[in-house]
């Protein structure tokens, strides 16, 4: 009886076990179940869309213009006295340290710009059909990494952005000299490798895929990158400038520019406008007195285009108009606040705001311009007699630095006015570097990054620092962003090495490798 029961029982168990194995036999579906139906794999994706993203995000974060707000506007543009703000948290205006803001550029550039350039490279590498797209990816990568190192100095470079592929998640920092060595090599190689016969580059916001323009972009980027080494390695700089001469941008039509689209919210709108149209920035951020005074004293045609007083705004916050009369313009002195330690003596309302044209959500972001290119060539010619005639480059750069504003919505023809301006401000070789780099500064409004980098490189324009009570720099203009605290938290060992190695300390007053004190 017991035996019989056991037997029966065991047969039930056997049946159930068999049933269970039938069930588990279905794991063949598991790879399919674990495939995201709302995503693409490397096999069925279009890598060109990643170029679009890398280009778009180079103009700033889609997340409420995160680092544009903090690094470009709050810090760089006010330190360069292009803009000024009485807003208490606009730390750059007052040389205060906000480590979060100062670290913002690093935090977003790697994860929102570089990531896409790296993926683009990974998906196009060694693929004949993506030959030019691959080179565009390399150029984007170099440009993105270049701006990070110019802000911070030593940085994870060679393995940067490759975490998925290398399984390196806590990266060591490469010294800036090594970074620059590779940047120059990469830009040159990628530019040379562009192939006219391999077809247009898809997904390209800069040039609609034109290879000829990409080649000029590559050489202009090579020029700019080389010129960063003006102080520290002039021989290297000269050698690379020589390679670029004659192959750089030829007109404003070659400008690398992203024209924004208001329809896609923060993702596609102009980053600077996203920030400056919102309160309190729309009321409390103004053109700097230094910038407006420079325009006024030189009868600059740009002033009528870029500035208004008493701005008016639509209900949804877009800028409508204001008094654009150049004579009425008044720049806000840097280093003041409303209610804090250095209150502005008069009302903020009377100072010049950016014009509605420059605040358009559909407006352009200039990534690399003909004006910058010509002025860098002028600098090289003046400094080292490399690359042609300094005066010609200066004249072309100065003019383009005015006419490029035509790209902003609602700005008319500035050609004649620009010619008049150039004629009225002839090149003076004795003062050449000052003239050239002051024009560079005037032509990088809203690109505070580039203005700041070039100021550190060239020493121009000559800015008078503010001395806000309790500032973090002893009344000097900051020269570098301290490394972000996220690195201290998430990559502490490597961070410490780099943090301790910064010349002058990991502070606003520290210096990157190329920013020598001579």
């Amino acid at each position: 009886m017991l035996n019989n029961m056991k037997h029966k029982y065991l047969s039930y168990i056997a049946l159930a076990v068999a049933g269970a194995f039938v069930t588990t036999g279905c794991t063949d579906d598991f790879a399919k179940i674990n495939t995201d139906p709302v995503a693409y794999g490397a096999g069925n994706y279009e890598p060109a869309y990643l170029l679009t993203t890398a280009q778009l995000n180079y103009t700033g974060s889609p997340d409420n213009a995160y680092e544009t707000w903090r690094s470009n506007l709050i810090y760089a543009s006010t330190m360069m006295q292009q803009l000024a703000a009485v807003t208490s948290y606009w730390a750059g205006d007052k040389y205060l340290l906000n480590t979060g803001y100062a670290g913002a550029y690093w935090e977003r550039a790697y994860t929102e710009q570089l990531k896409f350039a790296i993926e683009l490279i990974q998906l196009t590498k060694d693929k004949e059909e993506h030959k030019n797209l691959y080179q565009a990816g390399r150029l984007m990568r170099a440009m993105i990494l270049g701006r990070i190192t110019d802000m911070y100095g030593d940085m994870p470079y060679f393995d940067a952005g490759l975490g998925y592929y290398t399984q390196k998640y806590f990266l060591a920092y490469d010294t800036q000299d090594k970074v620059y060595g590779d940047l120059l090599k990469e830009i040159e190689e990628a530019t040379v490798a562009l192939d006219d016969s391999a077809g247009k580059i898809e997904g390209d916001l800069f040039y609609g895929g034109e290879i000829g323009q990409w080649r000029k972009f590559g050489y202009t980027l090579l020029l700019r990158t080389a010129m960063r080494l003006t102080k520290v390695e002039p021989e290297t700089a000269k050698a690379y400038v020589a390679k670029a001469v004659g192959k750089t941008f030829e007109s404003n039509a070659d400008n690398a520019v992203v024209v924004h689209d208001p329809s896609g919210s923060w993702t596609t709108q102009n980053r600077n406008s996203v920030v400056l149209l919102k309160g309190p920035e729309n009321v409390q951020v103004k053109l700097s007195k230094t910038y407006v005074d420079f325009m006024k004293s030189n009868n600059d045609p740009r002033l009528a285009v870029i500035a208004v007083t008493n701005p008016t705004y639509a209900e949804d916050g877009t800028a409508l108009g204001g008094n654009a009369n150049p004579a009425s313009q008044k720049g806000l002195p840097n280093g003041f606040d409303i209610d804090g330690q250095n209150p502005l003596p008069d009302a903020i309302g009377g100072y010049s705001s950016l014009s509605p044209s420059l605040l358009s959500l559909a407006g352009p972001t200039f990534v690399l311009t003909y004006a910058e290119s010509e002025l860098l060539l002028a600098d090289a010619a003046q400094r080292w007699s490399v690359g042609g005639n300094a005066e010609e480059h200066y004249n072309a750069g100065t003019k383009a630095g005015i006419t490029y504003f035509e790209k902003y919505p609602g700005v008319g023809d500035l050609d004649a006015a620009a010619d008049d301006y150039v004629a009225a401000h002839p090149y003076d070789a004795a003062n050449g570097l000052k003239q050239i780099n002051t024009q560079f500064w005037a032509a990088t409004l809203l690109n505070g990054y580039e203005a700041w980098i070039n100021w550190r490189r060239s020493g121009f324009p000559e800015l008078t620092p503010v001395n806000y009570p309790g500032n973090a720099t002893n009344g000097t203009i900051p020269r570098r962003f301290p490394y972000p605290l996220t690195e201290a938290n998430n990559n502490p060992v490597n961070y410490k090495v780099a943090h301790d190695a910064v010349r002058g300390g990991d502070l606003l007053t520290g210096r990157v490798w190329w920013d020598t004190e001579n």
């Binding site: 029961m5 029966k8 039930y12 168990i13 049933g19 269970a20 588990t24 279905c26 794991t27 579906d29 598991f30 790879a31 179940i33 674990n34 495939t35 995201d36 139906p37 995503a39 693409y40 794999g41 096999g43 994706y45 279009e46 060109a48 869309y49 990643l50 679009t52 935090e107 994860t111 393995d159 940067a160 490759l162 975490g163 998925y164 998640y169 806590f170 990266l171 997904g203 689209d261 329809s263 896609g264 919210s265 993702t267 596609t268 919102k278 309160g279 309190p280 209900e315 949804d316 916050g317 409303i338 804090g340 330690q341 009302a347 309790g470 002893n474 996220t486 690195e487 998430n490 502490p492």
Partner: protein, 1016 residues
């Protein structure tokens, strides 16, 4: 199922009945409602002879030596009684309900009911009435202080917000630490949004457990350790809570329960009342200056003079001490549940309908909930038992209050209004044109009335949880059970930033629809059989198939074409998002129970889970890489059954268990996924990378191995009982969405790196110090101590960031060598002699980032007392937690805004070595930024959690229609007996997922009201 098990035991036992016996019959009824109780165990003490009652509560049993025999009558949820037979042939028994019965049948994993005595692990059952009398909107909150080793805390996010239930500490570094809830054998979703970000300012949108109607709950069984939960395999790591809903039994009953409670905020802020709005000691002199001063209380001495306000109106510069009380209103919750229940031969039916209507203390906010429950169990043919359950819930929350950051957050803004402003002058929060009336030029400082009235944060949920179970038991004891269950819900989440909001004048809207389902189908077969005379072996095997899908469709847009009209077609800029998560887990499990002479028990289990989430798309991975095995073994030695321990020791048992359980991975984490942004830039698609963490194809599920030992002792006829447990639980292969250096391209990476350990003890003491005819006092004291330690992170990694306070200078981190969720803050910078160092501007400099202790309390305790005197009963619960820390964003901002009393001393003038200092404002705001250690508080507290006073109407008053009626006064969260935090509730917290930070939540409330229960 329980009945069939008992019946089986009875059958087996009756075989040995003596021929000289006497037959005893009787009927068992409930003292509560007089209804007969089926399935009650009636055993002759000291023997294995026994039976169980039939559907009419009747039993028949043969007593071998009737004169001396003692009947032991026991049933789950009732106090066990012992009655001498004394040659009687008819014995009727009235059983009293008892929430803390020791010698009872308890529900264990997979819904298997077992004798508590046989369990080799700690299990605590909490009875339904613990959830219904002094009730909470989120039923999980009712567990606080009631179960040793269970640390319950709620998010201060208003009605229907989430509750954290931590069982035996933090067992996972970055995965959920919330238990698996299983309702009537079917796992239910308890997803909550994991507010965990420096910039978060949004409402807590509730969790899954909050949807249940407490009136439908028969009991909750907390399976604390791995040994208890091992049969849930990869879902068991954080413990399991089994919920059994009520089923039909007894004679037909209609029950109506009505509960009305009111709640008021407890204003814990103790702000300075000396200085008013302004900056640098100056009162605002113009409307513009008043707006610029905004939330700053750095103005002049409150001198009663007229000072212009944000709206241009001059008002006396005096302290308004009751701004919080003026802003928040008296909230109320009115709950009515009607249920119909009836037992019949072979089964029963119960139906209930419930309506809950809550008015939050936050203006314009509230919750409505309707729940419908149906339970049918029957025996359509002999030996076949069928059990069907359906639970339908409509949950509708209007304007869930925001947490943390200030923009659009009424709580944040109301709390920090400068004392010289009267919050009522900010009403109604709008200008004549309907746009926000700002009180500050900082546009992110939203007018609190505007935030409460004009912002929309609504959620609506329709949820269905149902199951069907069939079990067939053959004559030889072999059983086959099949069950299918489904939990599904649809959520609609609406968020609107209204037109005219200062920080976003164009406004924005977001409409999210979430469709979720989880289906579980399982089977179990087994048979207990006897080996020899003393050993019963009960092997069984089963399997489970689990499919889960979550679809999430988001429509959003900003800049309304027609202002003040809030629908998703109105925005000028529109966008959408779509996610679809699928996963499947297949499981196969088996267990075997050994029971020797009813005093020695051993259970071994094994479960193997196969996970779809481990599969790599495009790769053929062998099956062995997709699965993991979860074994367990536990045993119990009921030594009082064989040893005579003297008259004072009634019961004694030792138990021990070992287990390995796990925590699964999420879908789509094994490869990099590319996507397309829903927006276009000038017609060009924008590429995206979907993973925000670097995927890892080698990922495996995390594991926890646990050893636990314990004892249960009963003294003096079980009037004093003790349950002790010790456990050591080590979690390994922790899946970590580890912060990577962003330079890798990603801020996170999925890694199997962490290890952590929880060691602890739990004690439960239950005593009945007084037990007289009219008066009974039951007191229960539970306490637990858990020591948590993070053992290992990635190579070379000493800490793992968890969360960052909005202030940016307070963090929570997992730090190797310390308990998880360490509060991190910056200390003062000190020189070699320990003197505080100052910056050039005279503000103390920032020192090192240091650990200040875990956010999780080490000690939790609860002391529950029940007194019954004739028709009255009185109870109170005091609970406490000790050893946890909190980083207070509230106090940080109180410094920044100059409201904290500690910001008073240096205002009048700065002296001494601080001659560089320009103002008290600069000093204190700089101090707050630099030395965040000031805002780390000991979160220990003792609270009078609950008081109930009930009166059961005498039967004589009720007549024939009403069977019983009980009216109770109830109060919850009445007051703090002790706390160590300034200005805040020590329990305040805005994330169940990343605890330890507080800011901008709903103030604590005290609740009091009435409960009326009538049975017809």
């Amino acid at each position: 199922m329980k009945k069939s098990l008992l019946g089986l035991v009875t059958l087996l036992l009756l075989a040995s009945v003596s021929a000289y016996a006497q037959t005893v019959t009787g009927k068992v009824t409930s003292a509560t409602d007089g209804a007969p109780i089926p399935g009650v165990s009636v055993i002759i003490k000291g023997t294995s002879v026994g039976t169980s009652t039939d559907t009419e509560g009747k039993f028949t049993l043969t007593a071998p030596s009737a004169a001396n025999d003692v009947l032991v009558i026991s049933f789950i949820g009732f106090a066990t009684q012992e009655i001498s037979v004394q040659d009687r042939t008819n014995i009727d028994v009235v059983l009293k309900e008892d929430a803390t019965e020791l010698n009872e049948v308890v529900v264990t994993a997979l819904g298997i009911e077992r004798d508590r005595k046989s369990l080799g692990y700690s299990v605590t059952e909490v009875k339904g009435e613990q959830f219904t009398q002094a009730r909470e909107i989120n039923v999980a909150n009712s567990l606080v202080g009631k179960v040793a080793g269970v640390n319950v805390s709620s998010i201060n996010g208003g009605p229907g917000s989430s509750t954290s239930v931590l069982i035996r500490g933090v067992s996972s570094l970055t995965q959920t630490n919330q238990p698996l809830y299983v309702i009537n054998g079917v796992p239910m979703s308890n997803e909550s949004n994991k507010l965990k970000d420096q910039w978060v300012n949004e409402p807590d949108k509730g969790d899954g457990i909050s949807n249940l109607n407490p009136d439908d709950i028969e009991s909750m069984t907390v399976l604390k350790g791995g040994a208890a939960a091992a049969l849930y395999g990869s879902r068991a790591k954080a413990g399991v809570i089994l919920i059994t809903t009520k089923s039909g039994k007894g004679e037909g009953t209609v029950e109506w329960n009505s509960n009305f409670v009111m709640e008021n905020i407890i204003d814990l802020t103790d702000w300075q009342q000396t200085y008013g709005q302004g900056a640098n000691g100056i009162k605002p002199v113009s409307q513009a200056a008043a707006l610029d001063a905004g939330g700053n209380s750095w103005g002049g001495l409150l001198d009663g003079t007229d000072v212009v306000n944000f709206d241009g109106v001059a008002r006396p510069y005096v302290a308004h001490k009751d701004n919080m009380k003026e802003f928040y209103r008296t909230g109320s919750t009115f709950t009515n549940t009607v249920s119909f229940s009836k037992g019949f031969a072979g089964g029963g039916i119960r139906m209930s309908a419930s309506d809950l209507h809550n008015k939050s203390v936050v203006p314009y906010s509230g919750l409505k909930r309707n729940a419908f429950n149906l339970a049918i169990n029957l025996e359509p043919v002999k030996r076949l038992k069928v059990d069907a359950r359906a639970n339908f819930v409509l949950d509708d929350v209007t304007n869930r209050p925001m947490l943390s950051d200030g923009a659009g957050n009424a709580n944040f803004q109301a709390m920090f209004i400068p004392t010289s402003l009267d919050i009522n002058t900010m009403k109604p929060g709008t200008k004549a044109d309907g746009t926000e009336m700002p009180f500050s030029s900082n546009t992110y400082a939203t007018n609190p009335w505007f935030a409460a009235r004009n912002f929309i944060n609504d959620t609506k949920r329709e949820r269905f949880i149902g199951s069907l179970t069939a079990r067939y038991t053959f004559d030889n004891g072999f059983f086959v059970q099949g069950r299918v269950g489904r939990d599904s819900y649809t959520d609609r989440i609406t968020g609107v930033v209204p037109s005219g909001t200062a920080y976003k004048p164009g406004g924005s809207i977001s409409e999210t629809t979430v469709k979720f389902y989880e289906m579980n189908a399982d089977f179990l077969v087994g048979k207990p059989f006897k080996v020899g005379t003393d050993l019963i072996i009960s092997p069984s095997i089963g399997g489970n198939l689990r499919k889960q899908q979550e679809e999430r469709m988001v429509q959003n847009g900003d800049n309304f074409a027609i202002p003040f009209v809030y629908n998703v077609t109105n925005p000028r800029n529109k966008s959408l998002d779509y996610k679809n998560y699928n996963q499947e887990v297949q499981s196969f499990y088996g267990m075997v129970d050994f029971s020797y002479k009813n005093f020695l028990f051993l259970t071994a289990t094994a479960r193997n889970d196969w996970f779809s989430t481990l599969a790599v798309p495009g790769q053929n991975i062998s099956k062995s890489n997709l699965d993991i095995l979860y074994p367990s073994v536990n045993g119990s030695f009921a030594f009082s059954e064989i040893w005579d321990l003297g008259p004072s020791v009634t019961f004694g048992k030792l138990r021990a268990g070992f287990s390995k359980v796990g925590g699964a991975t999420d879908p789509y984490q094994t490869v990099l996924n590319y996507g397309i942004d829903p927006r276009l830039i000038n017609g060009n698609p924008i590429g995206t990378v979907i993973n925000d963490a670097i995927p890892n194809s080698a990922l495996v599920p995390s594991e926890a191995t646990e050893v636990e030992v314990g004892t249960e002792l009963g003294f003096l006829g079980n009037r004093l009982r003790l349950d002790l447990a010790w456990y050591n639980k080590k979690s390994t292969n922790e899946i970590i969405r580890a912060p990577a250096s962003g330079t890798s391209g990603y801020n996170y990476v999925m890694l199997n790196i962490g290890e952590l350990r929880n060691k602890g003890v739990e004690a439960l003491i239950t005593a009945i110090p007084v037990q007289k005819t009219d008066f009974r006092w039951t007191t229960t004291l539970n306490g637990s101590f858990n020591q948590n330690e993070v053992l290992k992170l990635a190579a070379g990694q000493n800490s793992l960031g968890v969360n960052t306070a909005r202030s940016g200078n307070g963090f929570t981190q997992h730090v190797v060598g310390y308990a998880a969720h360490q509060i991190m803050a910056f200390d003062y910078k000190r020189d070699a002699d320990g003197n505080i160092e100052y910056q050039d501007n005279g503000v103390p400099a920032q020192g090192d980032l240091k650990t200040y202790g875990s956010a999780i309390a080490k000690w939790t305790t609860g002391w529950n007392n029940e007194f019954s005197y004739k028709q009255f009963n009185f109870g109170f619960l005091i609970d406490g937690k000790f050893g946890g820390k909190v980083f207070s964003g509230t106090n940080f901002y109180a410094y920044q805004f100059g409201l904290h009393k500690e910001t008073l001393p240096l205002r009048a003038g700065v002296t001494g070595s601080n001659d560089k200092l320009t103002s008290g404002q600069a000093y204190y705001s700089g101090l707050a930024s630099n030395v965040s250690e000031l805002f780390v508080y000991d979160a220990s507290f003792v609270k009078l959690r609950q008081v109930t006073l009930g009166y059961t109407l005498p039967g004589a008053l009720l007549g024939n229609v009403v069977k019983s009626a009980t009216l109770s006064f109830v109060g919850r969260n009445l007051f703090f007996i002790s706390k160590k935090t300034d200005n805040i509730d020590p329990e305040a917290n805005y994330s169940t997922f990343a605890p330890g930070l507080e800011q901008g939540g709903v103030p604590p409330t005290r609740t009091y009201g009435f409960n009326l229960n009538v049975k017809f």
